[in-house]
Symmetry: C2
Subunit: 272 residues, 2 copies
Amino acid sequence: MNRSRCSLNQYTVRQLSLLESADACVKASIPAIGVWRDKLAELGLERASRELQARNLHVSSLCRGGFFPYETPSEKQSREDDNRRAIEEAAAIDAAALVLVCGPAPPGDLARARAQIEEGITMMIPDARAAGVRLAIEPLHPMLVAERSAITTLSEANDLAERLDPPGVVGVIVDAYHVFWDVRVKREIARAGRSIFGYHVSDWVTPNGASDIAASRAMMGDGCIDLHDLSEAVTSAGYDGDVEVEVLNSNLWGTDAAAVTALAMERFERFV
Amino acid sequence: MNRSRCSLNQYTVRQLSLLESADACVKASIPAIGVWRDKLAELGLERASRELQARNLHVSSLCRGGFFPYETPSEKQSREDDNRRAIEEAAAIDAAALVLVCGPAPPGDLARARAQIEEGITMMIPDARAAGVRLAIEPLHPMLVAERSAITTLSEANDLAERLDPPGVVGVIVDAYHVFWDVRVKREIARAGRSIFGYHVSDWVTPNGASDIAASRAMMGDGCIDLHDLSEAVTSAGYDGDVEVEVLNSNLWGTDAAAVTALAMERFERFV
């Protein structure tokens, strides 16, 4: 795929600040960036907004809202407050979507976690509508069910999005790494259609030696995912937005960011 | 669950030979055992059959046939030959099912792997029927898609079993560790009904520190799976066979097998 469709998720080069990764995008002719909230907070919301505009960088997504399951009323309240702030931040930098990583379940309570996730997203909808922010449910790989997300398939994310707000401010992220293994994935991509609010790419290698189960994605072309096939499915479904390179890999974060960016672009053009 | 329903998969105590693990079952009043083919080969088929009968041990399953995907005709032939032998072995020890671990895909070729898996199981059906051996497709956790099995959900396994031989010698294994994360799991257990040929239990902990991604299961009660809930679903679906304790964990294999067995039984009675 041509890099004119590309967005660099800044955690691919997590060693950089938001300003540094924005400059890396400009230097590599990458027109968009995926922003993380911790990096945004470091720079400050107003300045970040200004600097991104000055570089003419489109924001493909803001990572992340979500983490809905709670044990106590005060936890629930703090999640709600945080998600409200996430919507404000996404609006301020004009992000194409706010990524929702829905959060894990307490032990043995997946059903309750799923109910709380649905309740939590429902609570966000009025604010999201008012702010013009799209909420993108990202199903994560089932490997991460106890640590990051009780929503583990695109089918489940589609069910949720359809129940909550059909079609409207709630949609889904298709992240190749998280969903490629599912025999239903192409049917579910087609079903999501215009509710696809983002498409993320990286690759799957096991065992890959990264120390962190949540940061062990491989560079496109190094693993077993047929990204051309998924890209075609996403395009056929009507998605024509940014394609975000999100290679979360703790091994890459200690290396030279310019080299990582150059490699990512070469691989993007060959394999995506 | 009462241990009168229990079977000990011998890889839970992989440090033991087949005879030693059979004796461990007798000593712990466990009426059944899950047998692995490498251990069976060590003892010899005839002697194994005799020794298991002498101990009045029921064989809940033989692990494993499968690994269908191939690159060359000779690979295809050797898989077929091996699966034919697996059927003979399952018949000789009167195993309640031959477990099919369907095998991984070559990079980028999940669709072809899935077609080859369907073709491979189809080839086995006449022999299985003639030998009175039931073939149990075991969907594995999507984490293992590139290493062990392109069949990653109970839904996919049910689809396959229904297409191939409804209802007949092809069914499924419900292994809690592999399927608990799926929002559809209880619907698919109900759908499988009498085609459930085995129910396996262990637990899910991440990160768990085991060195091998395929051998990192936790003891029941140590993780986040609601086994009572799954047991109820499996029972409601009509399954009244053995419940196999299959805690594949490389950390356990270096420890005292009697202690592992005792702990497994205590946990089985509390958590399953």
